[in-house]
Subunit: 163 residues, 2 copies
DNA sequence: TTGTTATTGACTTATACTGACCAAAATTAT
DNA sequence: ATAATTTTGGTCAGTATAAGTCAATAACAA
């Protein structure tokens, strides 16, 4: 049975994450070309990793500058107060969210230790239950279920952030 | 006893369960296509097995990724709580439960540190959300809401007990 | 029969990665 | 100074890959 091979993206992601860990100010500067060379890939692959792994929804900001002495800076986000975090989380969920997106978000939040595995489990049970009820008991349309899912998720995450 | 034993689903379920047992960390990564090939079925059959057997209600979390280097990860959560007790409490919930009774139960569980304050918060938000939807969106009768509340509560408590 | 569970396959969506082309900032030449 | 050149990084579309969804059907249990 072939196990999933580690992807380039993942390797690069872990490398950058490690650099961030080593730097206690939660930011690190990179050279796109150097990184690409180190991992034997095309430079735009780095952009892909940044876009898909170090996006704001994952709790990061990226700044960059072109030209001579250009750089890419990856910054780990931190929140000063609960309200900021609530707003951020609500933004991430948005008005409507699919099952897939919701699950991805929860994985993310757990990885970032915003929620515990147990908490994630409870939330998934709650979402699934609502989905089931909406689908088979009340005949709610798929899009409306996405709306309801977003509502519930936001309520839960908000309560956690404010609690 | 309902033994809806269809061999395929059961065989796949047992195979995944065995992989989980063998792995110390209680998680395993799969390739949907490989699994389907191994058991000579269509790939979506795997989704069926995961949905019906490795659901959060049963104490499992499933993460997945599509596309290149895609995978499916099944995680078996294991908590060191006294699960007989929680199962017993699921019995206590019964067929139907009122808001007040549910709240009392949750307070009790929190006092005995079976659940954390945050977990209780999530559960209460989920219950209240379902209550609201049932009441104002779907016009569910009070008694039926008590039934649904019991269902959700039991699902959540069971998921924690199985973990 | 009747309702639930299992199985399939056609169709949809998401992710990884590359390469050609674009844009901006610094350096150098005129 | 200013223009040309060099040094960076950015974008986008294309290709390949892998998982998810849904509805129809089959098998089974009550």
């Amino acid at each position: 049975m072939s196990l999933p091979s580690s992807s380039l993206t993942k390797v690069i992601e872990e490398y950058i994450a490690q650099l961030l860990d080593e730097n206690e100010d939660g930011e690190v500067s990179l050279r796109r070309k150097d990184l690409a060379e180190r991992f034997g890939c095309v430079p735009s692959q780095i952009n892909y990793v940044l876009r898909s792994r170090f996006a704001p929804e994952n709790g990061f900001l990226v700044e960059s500058q072109r030209g001579g002495h250009g750089y890419i800076k990856v910054i780990q986000l931190t929140f000063n107060n609960c309200d900021e975090e609530v707003v951020h989380l609500a933004d991430l969920v948005g008005n409507a969210i699919t099952e897939q997106e919701a699950r991805k978000l929860l994985v993310n939040l757990q990885n970032r230790e915003v929620i515990s595995p147990r908490e994630r489990l409870i939330i998934e049970v709650a979402l699934r239950s609502q989905e089931e009820n909406g689908r088979s008991l009340f005949d709610v349309s798929p899009y409306r279920r996405d709306l309801m899912r977003a509502e519930l998720l936001k309520k839960i995450l908000t309560s956690l952030a404010l609690g």
